[in-house]
């Protein structure tokens, strides 16, 4: 084992890590936004909307993420051509991001739904009694409380996504794992680079996990 080649490779690896973080942050933001919308649909009194969201969630939770990523890689350009009528290159990054957002939304939806349901019913009644519309009740009273309650779960799910972003290697995107692997291959030290990558994933995820636990304790008080 010779880890000496890793230090000179750092700038390239950092670029990979930047890509990983970018995918994660944007994926989480988009996923939470879409997931919240889906949660509101699932909880709505309109049976059509509720069913539609239910189908979406169950579908995406029943297929592997890897499949979604490859599928979107081929489907998104195709769909765009069907809509705009011309070839629109989107690139691996965009199609991966769309895949993450749509896939994670199914999981975030369930977290948000549980969060909303954990708020006492009377809060909705009190907000309504003050003349707020349904949208205002949700936006001003229910969701702010729900998000506070579910922050630890959302962060935990984000850590999972941090690891899952490594699946983008299938479409050739240079995230942290992929850049470590390819660099190792080129230099001829694949094991050292993979071990190093594993250590980095472990440290980041483990430390983040511990921080979430700490936060959970603080929020519980």
């Amino acid at each position: 084992m010779d880890f000496s080649a890793i230090l000179p490779a750092m700038p390239g690896l950092a670029e990979g890590m930047l890509m990983t973080l970018k995918l994660m942050v944007l994926g989480v933001l988009g996923g939470v936004a879409l997931g919240t919308l889906l949660a509101l649909m699932r909880l709505s009194h309109n049976p059509m909307l509720a069913r539609l969201a239910g189908l979406y969630v169950n579908y995406f939770r029943s297929i592997p993420l890897l499949l979604v990523i490859t599928w979107f890689y081929f489907a998104v350009p195709f769909l765009l051509r069907a809509i705009t009528g011309e070839d629109t290159p989107v690139g691996a990054f965009t199609s991966c991001l769309v895949a993450f957002v749509m896939f994670e939304a199914a999981y975030f939806c369930e977290i948000v739904r549980a969060g909303i349901q954990a708020i006492p019913k009377g809060q909705m009644g009190a907000a309504q009694a003050l003349g707020m519309s349904y949208g205002q009740c949700m936006r001003l009273v229910i969701l702010p409380q729900a998000f506070r309650k579910m922050t630890p779960l959302l962060l935990q799910q984000s850590i999972i996504l941090f690891q899952d972003t490594s699946l983008v290697y299938t479409v050739g995107l240079m995230d942290f794992l992929n850049s470590a692997r390819s660099r190792g291959d080129i230099i001829g030290q694949p094991h050292e680079f993979l071990i190093f990558a594993g250590l980095v994933y472990f440290s980041v995820s483990f430390i983040a996990s511990q921080l979430v636990k700490l936060l959970q304790k603080r929020l519980a008080v």
């Binding site: 006492p120 009377g122 809060q123 009644g125 009190a126 907000a127 309504q128 009694a129 003050l130 003349g131 707020m132 519309s133 205002q136 001003l140 009273v141 702010p144 409380q145 506070r148």
Partner: protein
């Protein structure tokens, strides 16, 4: 001000309200009492359409609730409601609790809303708690803030749904005191409560409910005056709640 006309309501097959009718005039204080499960909380929640009902109608200040064209949020903005469990918004400060609906529903400016909120806080004796959060206040204090929050909307009528039932005995008094002052100030009030002392002091009329029906609907003096004229069910109830 409030006119309840033959209201009936079912939860599935179970009928919770049967043909309830009564009127609350402007400036009147009406106390609704009865054993638990008699439908009094359900009835008062029908008045601001928090609970839907299947038959009959309720007209509040000229607006029909059963009319599907009625803008219910707009109607609710004119009807103040105080709940058994306070229901202050725990993520907002006391001041924000008092101003959020003024700003977002009535479209008042922040300064005007804060000004109004603080004046009402003064009126319920809690001006110095403005910057705290609901969780830092006692139950009685929270309920007084809840009353101020409802008043901040300049309601035409105030509904109270067992406002003192969740309070420690020594805090009941401070909430009732605020309610009595409000009644003396001429506010139209409909109060579900077991506080017969309050009813005696300020109520114009008392409604007694049992098993989803309005069994008694009479003036305070009639209700407390001649027990022999009351229904058997109301007599039994009064026997239990009135101090001996």
């Amino acid at each position: 001000m409030i006119s309840i006309k033959s209201v009936s309501k079912w939860y599935g097959d179970f009928q919770v309200l049967t043909d309830c009718s009564t009127e609350v005039d402007k400036g009147e204080v009406v106390v609704v009492c009865g054993p638990s499960g008699s439908g009094k909380s359900t009835l008062i929640k029908c008045v601001n359409a928090l609970e839907p009902f299947q038959k009959g109608d309720i007209v509040v200040d000229g607006t029909s609730i059963a009319d599907p064209k009625t803008d219910l949020p707009k109607l609710r903005a004119r009807v103040g409601m105080v709940f058994q469990s306070f229901e202050l918004f725990p993520h907002l400060s006391i001041t924000e609790n008092l101003t959020i609906a003024q700003i977002k529903v009535l479209g008042r400016g922040k300064e005007e809303a804060t000004d109004k909120g603080l004046k009402l806080l003064e009126r319920v004796g809690l001006r110095d708690q403005a910057l705290k959060y609901p969780g830092q206040l006692s139950g009685g204090q929270q309920q007084r803030v809840a009353i101020a929050r409802a008043l901040a909307m300049d309601p035409v009528v105030m509904l109270f749904d067992e406002p003192t039932s969740a309070l420690d005995p020594e805090m009941v008094h401070e909430v009732l005191e605020v309610m009595v002052k409000l009644a003396h100030a001429g506010m139209t009030m409909m109060c579900v409560t077991h506080e017969m002392g309050f009813a005696r002091q300020v109520a114009n009329r008392v409604i007694f409910m049992d098993q989803g029906r309005i069994v008694e609907d009479c003036t305070k003096d009639e209700f407390f005056g001649d027990l022999s004229a009351r229904s058997e069910r109301a007599r039994r109830f009064l026997d239990l709640v009135l101090p001996h």
